[in-house]
Amino acid sequence: MSRYLVVRVSQGLLTLLLVSILTFFLINLAPGGPSAIMNFQSTAEQREALTKQLGLDKPVVQRYAEWLGGAVQGDLGNSLDSKQPVGELLAERFPNTVILSAATLIFTLMIGIPLGVLAAVKRGSWIDRLITFMSTFGMAIPEFWLGILLIIFFAVIHPILPISGMMTAGSDFSLVDLIKHLALPMFTLSILMLPNIVRFTRSAMVDVISLDYVRTAKAKGLGAYRVFFQHALRNALVPIAAIVGLIVPILLGGSVVVENVFGWPGMGRLAVQAATNRDYTVVMGVTILVGAIVIVTNILTDLIYTVLDPRIRYE
């Protein structure tokens, strides 16, 4: 088991290394440069000096080696724009993204899994068709547009909820204030997440319900309740656990847009700003962090598997 973990973690680190190589070379081999340099007002000499100062005149491979050397010691370099260390920027923004994402994840799992199970059990009925159609519909809504509509509704028509930021400027921290600010972004992100969760759960459950051992359990006279919870749902838990691994990337991607719509000061906003300014050290930092989260989630999902399914044993 522990050997498996070591293997899995080293595999994850390898993937992360590949991610960093891909990202770094994509950014640096592309024409143009960071906006800090490409500023139109600066003279050619100024640009050259800045390029030298930032070390951009060195060969790409050497720069990558230097970046990697720093990264393994926890130094992701400095932002080209604000000159702040990237690590510091991430530490500042990351918790905000976690608040938004975790709240959404808990909320949507609590609603989505029962809905998915219900749809699977009532497969073919009008309830199932309604739930399935609603999730198709939910997936088709552009989340930024939904955000704008919510803003119009709650700011222009009925101004009852704040539409931007995490806290009311100038006031002290209060939980109520945070929840009020959280309401709209969380709702928007939930509309993106729910359909995914409902669908994954439904198809996992449908697979299990039609299996032979559920029929065996019925043939034993166990009664509908025990057949459902002890035999069907218990087995469906394995693929349902996989959902978390599948939706975390969707969640992180979705939060980029939502954070920008509602001015939520998280990583997604940071990423877009950095991309706009071609602030590549920050882009690198965000990508590595996000990649690491996804990889860790995948490893955790695999570990949950071993607990839930005795057939899976990692050597």
Partner: protein
């Protein structure tokens, strides 16, 4: 003739038929679509026709600004009103639609070709080839798609071709993963063994016999994927990273409209409705196609 071979198979198979052509098969598939599927397909055909043909008839150019008639409400002159620079909203919707819809199609075409090719090669040949391709896929999948597009846009700018490549390049790993899994199921199948024993070479077996088995999955996934690509493009453009003004796209129209929600909230509605309807139609069409092409999956 021997006694057994001459036993006529009396199973009721209807009288001799002729070989069905490709066109016939397509018609059969489309005819078998559910009502929802047919409605979605009709909407999509209409919207593509609309954005392609409408400019020939529209009175206004999507780029002509008019400082004297900004954010006008809908009227006989401007059917959907005008935007913050006085441009005709309908003309903008049409020209933005062209970009958005084409980006969606082209990006998916790229993803299908790249993902289908690499996925089927990995799935069929196995071994080191498979290992390398699938590690690459894993890596791509461990960066959430939106961040991947961000990186690509950061690197190569945001002209429409780059946006197409960026979006398509992000979707190919998903395509490759599905095709890989599908093709792998056939790797040790008796279908492959049967063709091998007849003397067919590996490439012939792969492309003539195995890949066609995955067409239904690819078609369904691609249909759903076009919707996803449209969403991705509009999201990017909304963030100011995709299609840049003065070119219109449904996404960047929404970005500008957000600044005018107090004065002209209706501008934020039109492009969104079109995106929603289009993506929804692609999803419903995809699901309807799946029911026809792969009835096993219908539950």
């Amino acid at each position: 003739m021997s006694n057994t071979a001459s036993i006529t198979e009396r199973e009721r198979i209807s009288p001799p038929s002729v070989a069905p052509g490709k066109g016939r098969i397509i018609l059969n598939v489309l005819g078998g679509l559910s009502v929802v599927g047919k409605a979605s397909l009709s909407y999509l055909v209409l919207i593509y026709l609309f954005v392609l043909v409408a400019p020939l008839f529209l009175a206004h150019s999507p780029t002509d600004t008019d400082p004297l008639s900004v954010t006008l409400p809908a009227s006989g002159q401007h059917w959907l009103g005008t935007d913050e620079l006085g441009r005709d909203e309908l003309a903008r919707i049409v020209s933005g639609g062209r970009i958005t819809l084409m980006v969606g199609l082209a990006a998916m075409a790229l993803a299908v070709v790249l993902g289908g090719l690499l996925g089927s090669i990995a799935g069929f040949f196995g071994g080191k080839t498979e290992y390398v391709i699938m590690r690459l896929v894993d890596m791509m999948l461990s960066i959430p798609s939106f961040f991947l597009i961000l990186i690509e846009i950061t690197s190569f700018g945001n002209s429409p071709p780059v946006v197409i490549v960026a979006v398509g390049f992000t979707y190919w790993p998903q395509m490759a993963r599905i095709v890989h899994a599908e093709v792998m199921k056939w790797r040790d199948s008796s279908l492959v063994e049967a063709e091998t024993t007849l003397g067919a070479g590996p490439w012939r077996i792969l492309f003539r016999h195995v890949v066609p088995q995955t067409y239904s999955s690819i078609i369904v996934l691609a249909t759903l994927g076009i919707g996803w690509a449209i969403l991705a493009e509009s999201g990017l453009s909304y963030l100011g990273l995709g299609i840049q003004p003065p070119l219109a796209s449904w996404g960047n129209m929404l970005q500008q409209s957000q600044n005018y929600i107090w004065t002209a909230p209706v501008l934020a509605v039109y492009p969104g409705v079109f995106i929603l309807l289009t993506v929804l139609s692609y999803s419903l069409l995809g699901e309807a196609l799946r029911d026809v092409l792969d009835p096993k999956l219908k539950r």
